[in-house]
């Protein structure tokens, strides 16, 4: 839920990166964090296991600039991708304003992508959201690997509602900011209607 503070003249929005385990959600955030000027970002908080797998969430606040005299601050979250952390995923979707689904382009991860996408729809519904009504972007990550499914086939399989689709290699930053911009624009556009 967007939080508009007239006293501090701030618009705060929540964007969640969703997707199967090891698809690159945390890598997206890490790249945004590493590439952003210090004054535009807060700390990158990672609640991770000892082996660096996301346990609860990763979080970073990002300031994009001012619109109509209001600072726009995006709170970026990732969910834990592993199947058994579903309770945590549900909690993180609370109050979401926009979702990025990060798909793993490798052939052997196709089933995991589909399962995670179903899980996203289910969990959104539990929180009272409809994916069709929510700002949403699909990112096809790991495009640099040799065993990837062609973009056209992957899009055909995973695209839900004509949402923008971006090819990405999150570890070197390719497509990361295009994805973020696309979802942030949709969130702000939504603000004009509500």
């Amino acid at each position: 839920m967007t939080f508009i503070n007239y006293a501090s003249r701030e618009i705060n929005c929540k964007i969640v990166y969703y997707g199967p385990g090891l698809c690159g959600k945390t890598t997206n955030l890490q790249h945004i964090f590493d590439s952003t000027a210090p004054q535009a970002k807060g700390k990158l908080i990672s609640l991770a296991t000892e082996t660096d797998r996301t346990l609860f969430f990763d979080f970073m606040p990002l300031e994009l600039g001012t619109v109509r005299g209001f600072k726009t601050r995006f709170h970026l979250y990732t969910v834990p991708g592993q199947v058994y952390y579903d309770a945590s995923r549900k909690l993180i979707l609370k109050g979401v304003d926009g979702v990025v689904f990060v798909a793993d382009s490798q052939e052997e991860r196709m089933d995991a992508n589909v399962e995670s996408l179903y899980n996203l729809e289910d969990n959104l519904q539990t929180q009272g959201y409809d994916l069709n009504q929510l700002p949403y972007v699909l990112q096809l990550n790991k495009r640099d690997l040799p065993n990837v499914i062609p973009m056209h086939d992957l899009t055909h399989e995973l695209q839900k509602k004509g949402e923008p689709v971006f090819e990405a290699v999150a570890k070197d930053g390719t497509g990361v900011f295009d994805t973020l911009k696309a979802v942030a624009k949709q969130v702000l556009t939504e603000l004009r209607k509500t």
Partner: protein, 160 residues
């Protein structure tokens, strides 16, 4: 569908800050926050030093979300308060509707005092939040949304 924005007007912000100041003084606390359950800082009063308040609020909300889910697993509806006691600094979190009152205190105060003062303040905070929610809904229901005037150019300029 995305939900209507939660709108905090300046007058309500000042009221909330004054309640937080009262709690901080009465509890001899270091700092007192009011945080939205989605993790957004609504207001705070006190000495934050170099604390990252945005991260702090997000983690406080995550903490309460997790303990609320744990409560449900054992048949409780909610744990209305969460306490973390440290060697020097401690944190008391009280759930007030869709917000959290978070008190950071040290050896100058006691948990009993913090609980008592927080409980008293919770009624005032709940009343202000009710007013905020009512007004947010009125704005959402009005013909002209709060940011109807934002243009595509305004949005594009953020990314240029």
């Amino acid at each position: 569908m995305s939900q209507s924005p939660f709108i905090l007007q300046e007058q309500q912000f000042l009221k909330i800050r004054s309640v937080l100041e009262r709690v901080r003084v009465e509890c001899a606390a270091r700092v007192v926050f009011l945080v939205d359950r989605d993790g957004q800082t609504i207001a705070f009063n006190g000495d934050i030093g170099d604390m990252d308040t945005t991260s702090f609020s997000s983690l406080a909300a995550g903490n309460v979300a997790a303990t609320t889910s744990m409560a449900r697993l054992i048949g409780e509806n909610v744990f209305p308060a969460v306490v973390h006691e440290g060697e020097n600094e401690s944190i008391f979190i009280s759930v007030i509707g869709r917000s959290l009152l978070v008190v950071v205190f040290d050896g100058r105060s006691t948990l009993g005092l913090v609980k008592l003062r927080a409980k008293r303040a919770s009624f005032d905070i709940a009343a202000i939040l009710d007013e905020m929610i009512r007004e947010s809904q009125l704005i959402a229901a009005s013909a002209k949304p709060a940011f109807a005037d934002i243009t595509d150019e305004d949005i594009d300029s953020l990314f240029s």
